[in-house]
Amino acid sequence: MAGYSRALQELISALNKLPGIGPKTAQRLAFYILKSSKEDAVGLSDSIVRARERLKYCSVCGSITEKDPCDYCQSPGRDKSVICVVELPQDIFVIEKTRGFKGVYHVLMGALSPLDGVGPDDLKIKQLLERIKKGGVKEIIVATNPNVEGEATAMYLSRLIHPLNIKVTRLAHGIPMGGDLEYADEVTLAMALEGRTEI
């Protein structure tokens, strides 16, 4: 970045820290921001500061919220006896979009990964157990990702929670909608067969 002014270098390196943004993209974004109107640039920086100041993690479920506890945890319209366990706060938005779930959430902040050294203590698993022990919970839906880490987390939670006499369910695995059977890999297909439902 030789030859760039200090302010520009700082902007580029700040953008470069964002996930998935390499040095080239960071440069492109920086030049784009400089070219945009002053209001747009100030608006962007203000919204970053505002979001950072106002938003926090819900102390009950770990979702991102402006008030604590969050709307999901406080709303009388939501069924507190069903907890949907997700890896990250952003997974909640995806499930909410389905409009099919009326329970509450619990964010683990990751998934078990022996290869990355992420163990049970590094996730919000104790907090989940504490919620369960307070009573009133009938079902835990494990909605972790359908990959190795997500599966391991699901197996682990089921081993931990089963003895407490609470139903533990897992999102069904299957062929993606709009997909072609011939392109499905054998593991996905085997899972879809195992989890078949009567019609």
């Binding site: 050294g117 163990g119 499905a184 890999d185 054998e186």
Partner: protein, 254 residues
Amino acid sequence: MRFHKVSAIVLRHYDFGEADKVVVLYSRNQGKLRAVARGARRMKSKYGSSMEPFSYNEMMLYKKEGAELYKITGCSTVNSYSYLRKDLDSFITASYIVELIDKITEDNEPHPEMFFMLNEVFSQMPDCDRDVIKWAFVVKLLSASGYKLCLDKCACCGITARRARDIVKFSSFQGGVICPRCESRDLNSVSVPWRYIDYLEDFESKAFTEIDTAGISQSHRKGLESIIGSYLSSHLSGELKTEKFIKQWEVLIS
């Protein structure tokens, strides 16, 4: 641009860019390789589960002149070893094994024997004792990497080991048993029953399913864990991430 057809096992992967993964592979003929799987993180990825750890695939890779990473252009799964991901204990043991291979090997150093060992241990895991799988794999792996244990003679002076007494000194630093005269050459050596040395010999030479595990008592297990652990750490820098995981795990299930 050069194309390569490789038989390889996925050791692990990490996120790369927006939707890609870098997959760390252990291949039969080229040793450890790193390759980009474009779009592998998308739900509808054409790779499906073939880029998940432990999968054994036939792959087409290519690499531009001077590039650091290969690119995956084709992949068909030979054995997904999916049972290793469906049972927590198998998953943890298999993770330990791939981390070991990853730590002990360098990129682009061919070692077909290690590739066969990986396939062997993955196929035999469902029928074996998990502790024994771990120990036998460590012993076989270190032996294949040039750190073969010296068990029939003194690791220092080479004198034939005599079984006059029930116990013998084992030195992980010297890499095997040591005779009474050489004891002073490793003050951290430990006295172990000869039985342990027989186990170590079995671990090195027998197939995983052939090892007789019935007679390994709980106290033998503790002893073997300790000597094999120190033998491993004398050839490995830093703690394995899976070890840290296993410790947390054992606290919770006990």
